[in-house]
Amino acid sequence: MTIGTADGSGLGPAAGSDAQRWSRAFPGPTARYGIVVEAAAEVGVDAAMEAEAREATRAEVGAKIAPATGSVPVAVAGVDAVGGVAGVAGDDGVVNAVIARLRHAFADHAPPLVIVPADREVLRWQFVDTFDGRIHRAGGTLAVVARAGRRAASSAGADGEDGPWLLWQGHDGQIVDGVAWAGPPPAFAGDVAAAGHDALGDRLAARIAPRRLLPLVSATCRTARFHVVDGEGKTVVRLGVRDGTTSNGGARIAIAPWLELFAVRGYDATHAMATSACDRLVDEGALIDGSPGLAVRALAALGRKPGGVSTKFDVPLEPDMPAPIAAAAIFKALRKTIRTTLPGTKADLDPEFLHDFRVAVRRTRAGLTLLRDALPAPVITHFKTEFGWLGAATGPTRDMDVYLDGMAAYRAALPPDVAADLGPLEAYLHTRQAAAHDELAAALDTPRFAALLTDWKAALSALKSTGRGATPSGAAALDAEGDQPSAAARAAHDSGVAAGAVAAVGVVGVVDEAVEAVEVAAPPAATTPIAALAARQTWRRYRRVLSDGRAIGAQTPVASLHALRIEAKKLRYALEFFRRLVPIEAADALIGSLKGLQDNLGTLNDLGVQQGAMRAFAADLARRPTNSATLLAMGWLTAELHRREQECRREFGDRFRAFDAKDNRQRYQRLFHGVGGQLGAVGAGGAVGDEVPADGGPTDRRATADTPASDGTSASEGASAPDRDGAAAGNGGGR
């Protein structure tokens, strides 16, 4: 009878599953040690020891391996196989020296254990990861790996282990999942599923979707394997000495060698002995306890680190930092994100580049409002216009990205046969997305955009200089002004190149004005510590969300909820900008409670917008030859979206009550309210620290109504577009 669930598929004529073959071809190490090359070389010089090692290994090869492989001289075959990289990565001297040391360490063991060479292999690894290093953060590496050169004669080679493979490997070297994979590495999780590997595809999608896999590092890794055998000639522990090469585009760069141990089932005691022998070599300085895997070692050889580029906003601020300095730091971080995500946005590598790009632009615009007291007025005016233009330029592409991303959810919302009719809608969205992206890429190629980046940089350096001379005292503020001409001159110089470019499109006057503004106008809060400004602004945003939210009842028009969504978003930006000014747990608790509210408002908005979009898409599709089934399916979907919108609306009350909870209110009060607030107190001794304006008044409100929704981008920010940036709130927080 058959025991267990295995259905015999592992015995099939196709010779086992992928999992069986990769698990055998890539056994997980039980311990890893870095090899100290100098120490190894030192021993390597000990010719006698090395000769002894060679002699002994040959002898054992004769006794055990050679007959088994039809007297193929195993070691020689291995050397042939690695010929391609020899002389660059490590050398046999290191391998022999390490093995000689280990032989020495094992010599005392009773019954005697000897180390015999088994085989060698050379594998080429192409590691990939997303731009932001999601695979690394998920705890591993993803690579296409293929055997380089011929396989050395080996007694242990099962059929079909040569790959190539697509392997997901944990940081500890254990293979988590893998599939046979020919060709270049996949670009998206969907490619893996499309190749028939649903399990790995789903697994990857959960970690990286919708991001694209980009080349991380490639490396050639060679392994010299040895077996530790007992008196019966039985392998009781396996060893692998690995090293390799990587490339920085030109020269080959050696990857330092390391040692891996592999246990054989049922020989735990010997394995423990082997690890303690290695530990002694650690004490002697010949080995280093613990080693990262090939990818991290290859990156290290290139002077790089794993983990990708973070677009997470986290700017360290000090409470008594002058506001302009703090503002400059915040804007500079955002500008950096804009720059790092720009190439991927232009190339449309994946939707997240544009998303991160947009979030940084939007934060910048929010910052121009939130931090306005720290900025000269003309700077605000100019850059609000320019970043507003940029935000608007990115909108249409993002809209289509969001709809495309939602296709799976749309399908899931409908009965399967109806869902199948949505195909033409998806094709239509793809066409629209491609057209929108073409326009976006063109906008990003304009002199206007180039000038924006350059001028913004110049303005930020000028801003930093404004603040640098400033201290919380009035006298120092004067000094700060005295500091300005040089800064402005520098700024003017920096923007000179851009000014030339801008002239070509006839907006040079704007640039001049901006630069000039830096020269003549000190920002109103040049000497205010950032803490005071932060307290004032955050408190004001908070009060507004609170009062607007409390005014919402069951009969309130949905437009009020959309207005509240925008207010909540502004509060969110304030909390994130100033997160590092208050105890981090407190800030994160506030962000968390706000997020619950935002998710609800964002979803509500999305569902409303999507219903409108479906109607517009349907109208458009109806003008082309479109199957009526598709239009019917879209109608069905629209009804479903409406149902969910109602549901979401009903949930609002609970979400808002959670935000309006007593402890949350006290936390805001404690941290941000006036001079009594933790942050406000920092500014209390300063020149303008006491000037906390009455919050929430109608006049004040109008003055700050220059929200993103009202400066020329209402089409993309108001209730007519999906909450594109809020869409990320569900999977990683509003960035």
Partner: protein, 253 residues
């Protein structure tokens, strides 16, 4: 986990060589394989260079006191493991007899290993005993190496009678020709008669015949499956073909 027993009433017919070489072929094909060396002589353990000893012995195994997973030893082939023999297996009958529902005992014994292996090959001791009766109930198929001689064929009839009398008709019994020496007229005549159907047999024979070859005997010197040290030898080819047939018999997809 599929379970296959290499079994014969008669001794010296190539049971252990069958178990070891089929296990290796299955492993080479990609399967994870466990060989349980049930013969107290420990020949399969010897071939795999594994010490023929089991902590707790037969008693611990049958009474369920031993953690069977901890008794398994990896062979030199990663993914082909051995549950070694122990000299106390000579008393396996006694302990099984003392146990309630002996067959259930063996199932429970192997259960912890069921998810780890695609295939278990039991290398049985010769004879008919309570152990072999339990194996009949446990195995998906009995592979019976059969030398084309009168005595060897006679034991097949005995097995058939035994299975019928004991209502053990459920197990697939698949004899195959073993140690066929083409130089001997009787071997040739019987082998041909069996394979072309001229001689009625109680069970259908597998088509592959394992010839009498020195490579099989050299396993004792090399202490490895023939495919390892003589991959191009006719013996290796014969076991490969035999595994192909067995794989079909046990219903692998």
């Amino acid at each position: 986990m599929r379970i296959v027993a290499s079994y014969a009433i008669k001794g010296g017919v190539g049971k252990t060589a069958t178990a070891v070489n089929l296990a290796w072929e299955a492993w080479r094909g990609g399967a994870t394989v466990l060989v349980w060396d049930m013969d107290p002589q420990g020949a399969a353990s010897f071939y795999f260079r594994v010490a023929p000893e089991v902590a707790g012995g037969a008693k611990g195994l049958i009474k369920g006191a031993s953690d069977v997973a901890a008794l398994v030893r990896g062979s030199d082939f990663d993914g082909l493991d051995v549950l070694p023999a122990d000299f106390t297996y000579r008393h396996l009958d006694l302990y099984l007899d003392a146990a309630k529902r002996p067959t259930r005992r063996l199932v429970r014994l192997l259960a912890p290993l069921a998810e780890r292996y695609d295939l278990a090959i039991l290398d049985c001791a010769p004879g008919i005993s309570l152990v072999s009766e339990s194996v009949f109930a446990l195995a998906d198929a009995l592979l019976v190496p059969t030398i084309p001689t009168t005595l060897s064929l006679r034991t097949l009839d005995q097995l058939a009678v035994h299975l019928r009398l004991n209502d053990e008709g459920g197990v697939l019994v698949r004899p195959f020709l073993s140690l066929v020496d083409r130089r001997k007229a009787l071997h040739r005549a019987l082998a041909d008669a069996i394979l072309d159907g001229g001689l009625p047999t109680p069970f259908p024979f597998l088509r592959t015949a394992i010839p009498y070859l020195s490579a099989v005997e050299r396993m004792g010197v090399q202490r490895a499956p023939v495919g390892v040290f003589a991959p191009r030898d006719a013996a290796a080819a014969a076991y490969r073909a035999l595994w192909g047939e067995v794989r079909d018999v046990i219903g692998a997809r």
